[in-house]
C-alpha cells in the first residue's frame, strides 16, 4: 500500500474545507446584504432629529400656537450597565418598582432591545436640567428633546385642534410615522398636518471604541430635518376670545366669516376649554375629564351639530322660488292659518314682508309652487318627484348637504332630503307635496350645520356666491391659502333677486322686526331670526346676519341651545360680535352685560 499517497487525500480534505469556508464567507458577506442589513439594524443607532412644528398666527399676527421643548428620557437597554438604582430613582422621581416595570417594558417590547425607547416622557426643561447633570453616570440613558404645543391665547381649542401620539393604525396606514411621533388630531393641526410637521431628519451613528458617536458611511445616509411651515390662520384672536366670552355659560356656537374671502373670523363652540389642557403629561387625564363632561366640550357644535334649519331657511326658499319663477317679489299669498300656524298680525304679505313676518302659510305656498309647478295637475306624486329634484339641486347649491369644501376636519354635511330619501321613507309614488310641506318652513327632515347657515349669510351678503369657508389664509408667512380657497362658487341665482331678500333682512333688524336686538348705530345689519323646535325642551335660538348692508365685512350665524326665541338671545350676540369686529368697542355695555349674565347651561 502506498501510504505516502495518502498525504494528498489529507491535503485535498484541507483544501476542500478551505474552499467551502471561503465560499461561505462569500455568501455571508458579498452575495447578499441580508446580514449587513441586520447589522445596521442592530449596531447602528438611528438618531431622529425632530423638526419643530410650524407656528400658527392669527390674521393680525398674534401667536396662536407655539412650541415648548420638553425631554423624553430614553433608554437603550443593551447599553445599560448595572447602576445605582436607588440614586437613579431619586433623580428621576420614580419608585424602584415603577422603574423596574418601565425597564422591563423597554426590554420586552418587540425588537426594541436594540432601539431606544422612552421611559419617562415630556420632562419639563427645569426638571430635565437637574437630571441631565447626573445622566453621565448611567450609560444607556439619554434625553431626547421633543416639542410640545403651547397656546398662549388659550382660545380656539377645537378650531386649532390638538396634537397627540400617533396610533398603531396610523403607523400602519402611513409609513411616514413611527412609534412615539406626534400628529395633529383635530382642527388646523389635523388639516394642515403635512405642512406643520415639517420633515423629520435622521442621522445614523454608531459608538466607536472611543465612545464617540460616529456617522455611518460618512453621513451619506443621513437627511436633515426641515422645520414645519408657519401658518397664518383666518381667525381674529380678539374676536374669537370675545365670542367665547359671550358664550360663557351657554351651549351653542358662533360662526363668523368674512364673506368676500370665506375666511373664518371666529369659530366658537360653547362650552369651550383651554387648549393647553390637552398638552403634555396631563393630556390623557384631561382628555378623559373633558370627554365625560355632560356639556360635551369636545363636540364642535359649529361644524358637527346638525339642527333643523328653522325660519332662517325661508331666505333660501325665497331665492330658489324667485329663480325658478314660482313667484315674483310682488307675489302675495294669503296667511291661511288653518293649514299651518303663524304669528303676528298680517294677512296678505308680499315676499319682503313675508320674510319680515316669517309667515308660515306664505312659504308653504311658495314651496308648493316650486315643487308642484304647473306641470301635471293630474299626478301630484309625479310632480312632487320632479319638483323636489329641482329644489334639492338649488339647496345643494347653497352648500346644504355638503361639506362646503372647508378645510375643517370632520365636519357634518347635514341632510337635504330628496326623492331617494322619501322613496325609502314612504315608498315610490307614495308621497306628494302635502307629505313633505314642513320642509317649506325649515322643519321636517332637513338638517343643517351652523357653518352652513353662516355660509348662507355669506351668499346673501355677496349677492350670489361664496368662497369655501376655511381656517388658514397663508401657508408660510406671506404665502397663499390652498388653491381651492381662491375660487368663488357662483350660485345659479340672479343677483337682482337678492335685493328683495337683503331688504327684508334689513327690516328684520329694523324697528319692530324680530331681530331688533341686533340693531347697531351707524352699521346696517341685515339678519334673520330663527327658532329650532326642540320638543320637549326649550327651543334653540338662532340668528344669521351680515353687516354692513353694502360691501359686507362679516357674516355670522349664532346658535344658543335651549335659549328660546332667536331674536332675544342670538341676535344681540351677533350684533356684539359685529361691533367688536368693526368698531373694536361696545357702545351699549348693558347689552353686553345682559348676555354675559345669561346662563342656559341647565335649561
Amino acid at each position: 500500500m502506498n501510504l505516502e499517497g495518502r498525504r494528498f487525500t489529507l491535503i485535498l480534505i484541507v483544501s476542500i474545507i478551505g474552499i467551502i469556508y471561503m465560499l461561505r464567507l462569500l455568501s455571508l458577506q458579498v452575495t447578499t446584504d441580508k446580514w449587513q442589513n441586520k447589522a445596521s439594524a442592530l449596531a447602528e443607532k438611528e438618531v431622529i432629529i425632530y423638526p419643530s412644528r410650524g407656528l400658527i398666527y392669527d390674521r393680525k399676527g398674534r401667536v396662536l400656537v407655539t412650541n415648548q421643548t420638553v425631554y423624553d428620557l430614553m433608554v437603550l437597554p443593551r447599553q445599560v450597565d448595572p447602576f445605582d438604582t436607588s440614586a437613579f430613582c431619586q433623580l428621576v422621581n420614580l419608585s424602584i418598582e415603577e422603574l423596574r416595570t418601565l425597564l422591563k417594558k423597554a426590554v420586552t417590547y418587540p425588537n426594541v432591545r436594540y432601539k431606544p425607547s422612552p421611559i419617562i416622557k415630556q420632562i419639563t426643561p427645569p426638571e430635565y436640567a437637574a437630571i441631565s447633570e447626573q445622566l453621565y453616570k448611567y450609560p444607556g440613558f439619554f434625553g431626547q428633546p421633543r416639542t410640545l404645543r403651547v397656546y398662549p391665547q388659550q382660545i380656539g381649542a377645537l378650531m386649532l385642534g390638538d396634537v397627540g401620539e400617533v396610533t398603531k393604525e396610523t403607523i400602519e396606514d402611513n409609513p411616514y410615522y413611527r412609534r412615539g411621533d406626534y400628529i395633529g388630531l383635530g382642527g388646523i393641526e389635523k388639516a394642515y398636518e403635512v405642512e406643520l410637521r415639517g420633515k423629520r431628519g435622521v442621522k445614523y451613528v454608531f459608538r466607536d471604541n472611543l465612545g464617540i458617536e460616529r456617522n455611518v458611511a460618512g453621513g451619506k445616509l443621513d437627511s436633515s430635518a426641515v422645520e414645519g411651515t408657519q401658518l397664518i390662520a383666518t381667525i381674529d384672536a380678539e374676536l374669537q376670545r370675545y365670542g367665547e366670552k359671550l358664550m360663557q355659560n351657554k351651549r351653542g356656537c358662533i360662526v363668523a366669516i368674512e364673506p368676500s374671502t370665506g375666511e373664518i373670523l371666529a369659530l366658537v363652540s360653547a362650552p369651550t376649554y383651554d387648549p393647553n389642557l390637552l398638552v403634555g403629561r396631563a393630556r390623557g387625564h384631561n382628555f378623559n375629564v373633558l370627554s365625560r363632561d355632560v356639556q360635551k366640550p369636545l363636540f364642535n357644535r359649529a361644524t358637527q351639530a346638525q339642527y333643523r334649519p328653522g325660519s332662517i331657511f325661508k331666505l333660501a326658499q325665497s331665492l330658489t322660488a324667485l329663480q325658478v319663477g314660482a313667484i315674483t317679489p310682488q307675489t302675495r299669498i294669503q296667511c291661511n292659518r288653518a293649514i299651518i300656524g303663524c304669528h303676528g298680525s298680517h294677512s296678505y304679505d308680499d315676499l319682503e314682508m313675508a320674510i319680515v313676518h316669517s309667515c308660515n302659510p306664505y312659504f308653504r305656498g311658495v314651496m308648493q309652487r316650486v315643487v308642484e309647478g304647473d306641470r301635471d295637475k293630474t299626478n301630484r306624486f309625479r310632480d312632487a318627484r320632479l319638483g323636489l329634484d329641482i329644489w334639492q339641486n338649488y339647496m345643494k347649491g347653497f352648500g346644504f348637504g355638503t361639506n362646503l369644501g372647508t378645510d375643517i376636519p370632520n365636519v357634518k354635511t347635514g341632510l337635504v332630503p330628496g326623492v331617494a330619501f322619501y322613496d325609502k321613507w314612504y315608498g315610490e309614488y307614495q308621497w306628494a307635496f302635502s307629505t313633505i310641506y314642513s320642509l317649506s318652513i325649515g322643519e321636517g327632515e332637513m338638517q343643517v350645520t351652523p357653518l352652513q347657515m353662516c355660509n348662507l349669510a355669506c351668499i346673501i351678503a355677496n349677492r350670489g356666491w361664496y368662497v369655501s369657508p376655511h381656517t388658514v389664509r397663508q401657508i408660510g408667512l406671506g404665502g397663499r391659502p390652498r388653491d381651492e380657497y381662491l375660487i368663488r362658487h357662483q350660485l345659479p341665482i340672479d343677483t337682482s333677486y337678492f335685493t328683495n331678500v337683503v331688504n327684508a333682512m334689513e327690516k328684520v333688524v329694523g324697528p319692530g322686526g324680530t331681530g331688533g336686538r341686533a340693531k347697531l348705530k351707524n352699521i346696517t345689519v341685515c339678519g334673520k331670526t330663527g327658532t329650532v323646535q326642540n320638543e320637549p325642551r326649550e327651543d334653540h335660538a338662532v340668528f344669521i346676519c351680515f353687516a354692513p348692508k353694502e360691501n359686507p365685512k362679516i357674516a355670522l350665524s349664532v346658535y344658543v341651545e335651549n335659549a328660546g326665541f332667536g331674536g332675544t338671545w342670538s341676535a344681540p350676540i351677533a350684533s356684539l360680535m359685529i361691533e367688536k369686529f368693526l368698531n373694536d368697542s361696545i357702545a351699549d355695555p348693558a347689552k353686553e352685560k345682559r348676555i354675559l349674565d345669561a346662563n342656559f347651561l341647565h335649561q
Binding site: 458577506q29 442592530l42 471604541n209
Partner: protein
C-alpha cells in the same frame, strides 16, 4: 561528528516561511483582540488590566518558549515523550482535583488573575507519544493490539478532558485519527466517519419533526428515515438477487443486512441520544447549526450574532476598530472563541479569506514538512501538528460562520488566552526544531 551535528542543527535552518506566518498570525491576532475587547477607559494596548495587555504578556512568553524550543535538541522530545505525555496528563488529573471551575467546567489552574488550561498542552504530549509509539513499533494499525495501544494513548487524556467536561477540546483529538490514517489505518475509517456524520445529521433533522403515519399516528420522523433505509435495503436485495451471479450473492446479502441494521440502529440511537441523553443546551446548539427550530428564545443568539457580525463586513470590511457589531460587543467574549467574526467584520471578505487561506497554506506546508522528514517520529509528529491546526480551523471558523455547532475551542494564535497561545507555539516550534535538524538524523 559533534561539529557536524552542531552545524546541521543550527537555528538558521528553521523554516522561516512558517515562522513568518506564525508571527503574522500572532501580531494580527493581537491587533484584533485589541479591537474586539477595546474598552475606551483603557485605550493603551499595553494596559495589563485588559485582555490585550495580558495577551501581550502571553505573546512575549510564547516568543521565549519558541526561542527556547528551537535550542532544545530534537532528540530530547523523542526520548522524553513519555515523560512529557505523563506530565501533561498528570496536570489533567490534578485540574480535576484542585482546578478552578469556570463556566461549569473544571479546566483551569488559577494563578491570581491568570489561568492555565492544561488541555491546551496535553495535545503536545499525545502527539509526541503517538509519534514515538508509531516510530518505535512500526505500527500500521493492521492489528487490534496496535489500534488499542494508540487508542489508549489518545483516549486517556481525552477521557480526563471529558470529565472536566470540555467536549470541544475532546473533539480536536479527532486530529490523531487523521494522523493514524496517514500511517496506515484503513481509509474505511474516514468513509465510516463521513457516513456517520451524514446519517447523524439526517437522523437529527428527521427526528426534530414528527410525521403522521397511517395506522400508528404521530411518530418521530426518524421512523421515516429508517423506513427509507429499509426500502433501500430491499431494492438493493432485489438488485443482487436478479443481477449478481449466485456464488457472489451470499456475502452481499450479509453486507445489506449489516447496512440496514447498523444504519437503523445508528439513526435511532442518535435521535435517542439527542432527545434524551444530551443536555438541553447541547441539543440546542446542534439544532441551531442545522437551522432547526429551537424552542427557547435566544438559544441561537451567539450563532446569529456571529453570522451578522461576519456579514456586516462586506467585501472590504468596515475598517480596523470600526466594525459596529464588534465595537458594540454583540458577540459575547468576542476576543476568545469568536475572534474570527471580528476579523471578518473589520477586514471583510478579503481579510477573512486571507486568514483561511493562510491557515490552509500553513497546514499544507506542515504536511509537506512532515513528509520530508527522514525520521518517522518527526513525520508523525508533523502530521499531528498539521491535523490539530486543521481540526481547530474546521471547528472554530465553522462555528463562527454557522457551519458547525457552537463548540468553544480557540482559533490558534488568534483567540485570546495564554494557554492556547503558549500551547500552539510549543506544538509548532517543536516541529520546526525537528525539521531544522532533519538532515542530521539518519534512519
Amino acid at each position: 561528528m559533534k561539529n557536524n551535528k552542531l552545524k546541521n542543527t543550527g537555528v538558521e535552518r528553521v523554516d522561516w516561511i512558517t515562522v513568518i506566518v506564525y508571527l503574522f498570525f500572532v501580531v494580527f491576532g493581537w491587533m484584533n483582540i485589541y479591537s474586539a475587547a477595546y474598552d475606551h477607559a483603557h485605550p493603551n494596548i499595553f494596559d495589563f488590566s485588559q485582555e490585550y495587555g495580558k495577551q501581550f504578556i502571553w505573546i512575549i512568553v510564547s516568543f521565549l518558549i519558541a526561542i527556547l524550543t528551537l535550542y532544545v535538541e530534537g532528540d530530547f522530545f523523542n526520548k522524553f515523550s513519555i515523560y512529557i505525555y505523563g506530565f501533561f496528563t498528570l496536570l489533567l488529573v490534578l485540574v480535576l482535583i484542585v482546578g478552578k471551575e469556570v463556566n461549569g467546567a473544571k479546566a483551569w489552574f488559577g494563578v491570581g488573575d491568570f489561568g492555565i488550561q492544561p488541555s491546551e498542552f496535553s495535545k503536545i504530549g499525545v502527539g509526541l507519544l503517538l509519534a514515538k509509539y508509531i516510530a518505535s513499533s512500526g505500527a500500521k494499525f493492521k492489528t487490534w493490539k496496535t489500534r488499542l495501544v494508540a487508542a489508549a494513548i489518545i483516549g486517556f487524556p481525552a477521557g480526563l478532558i471529558l470529565l472536566q467536561p470540555d467536549v470541544g477540546s475532546v473533539l480536536t483529538f479527532v486530529a490523531f485519527i487523521l494522523v493514524m490514517y496517514r500511517e496506515g489505518l484503513s481509509g474505511n475509517v474516514l468513509i465510516l466517519g463521513l457516513g456517520a456524520i451524514v446519517f447523524g445529521v439526517l437522523s437529527i433533522v428527521s427526528g426534530a419533526g414528527s410525521i403522521n403515519f397511517p395506522f400508528v399516528g404521530e411518530q418521530s420522523g426518524v421512523w421515516l428515515l429508517i423506513l427509507i433505509v429499509l426500502l433501500l435495503g430491499i431494492i438493493w436485495w432485489l438488485y443482487v438477487r436478479n443481477f449478481i451471479v449466485p456464488r457472489n450473492r451470499k456475502p452481499l446479502y450479509w453486507i445489506i443486512a449489516t447496512f440496514v441494521l447498523a444504519s437503523s440502529l445508528f439513526s435511532f440511537s442518535v435521535s435517542y441520544i439527542v432527545d434524551n441523553v444530551l443536555e438541553q443546551h447541547h441539543k440546542e446548539r446542534i439544532y441551531v447549526m442545522l437551522s432547526l427550530p429551537v424552542e427557547r428564545e435566544g438559544a441561537d443568539y451567539n450563532s446569529e450574532m456571529a453570522k451578522i457580525t461576519v456579514g456586516s463586513g462586506g467585501f472590504l470590511g468596515r475598517g480596523y476598530l470600526e466594525g459596529p457589531m464588534t465595537q458594540n460587543n454583540y458577540v459575547p467574549e468576542q476576543w476568545t472563541d469568536f475572534i474570527f467574526s471580528a476579523v471578518a467584520e473589520e477586514w471583510g471578505f478579503w481579510g477573512g479569506t486571507l486568514i483561511i487561506g493562510l491557515f490552509v497554506f500553513l497546514i499544507i506546508r506542515l504536511i509537506n514538512m512532515a513528509e520530508r522528514q527522514r525520521s518517522q517520529f518527526s513525520r508523525v509528529y508533523g502530521y499531528c501538528v498539521a491535523c490539530i491546526f486543521f481540526m481547530h480551523l474546521l471547528i472554530n471558523v465553522g462555528m463562527v460562520i454557522g457551519l458547525a455547532p457552537i463548540i468553544g475551542i480557540p482559533l490558534p494564535f488568534f483567540s485570546y488566552g495564554g494557554s492556547s497561545l503558549m500551547g500552539f507555539t510549543l506544538l509548532l516550534f517543536i516541529m520546526l526544531r525537528l525539521d531544522a535538524e532533519r538532515l542530521s538524523i539518519f534512519r
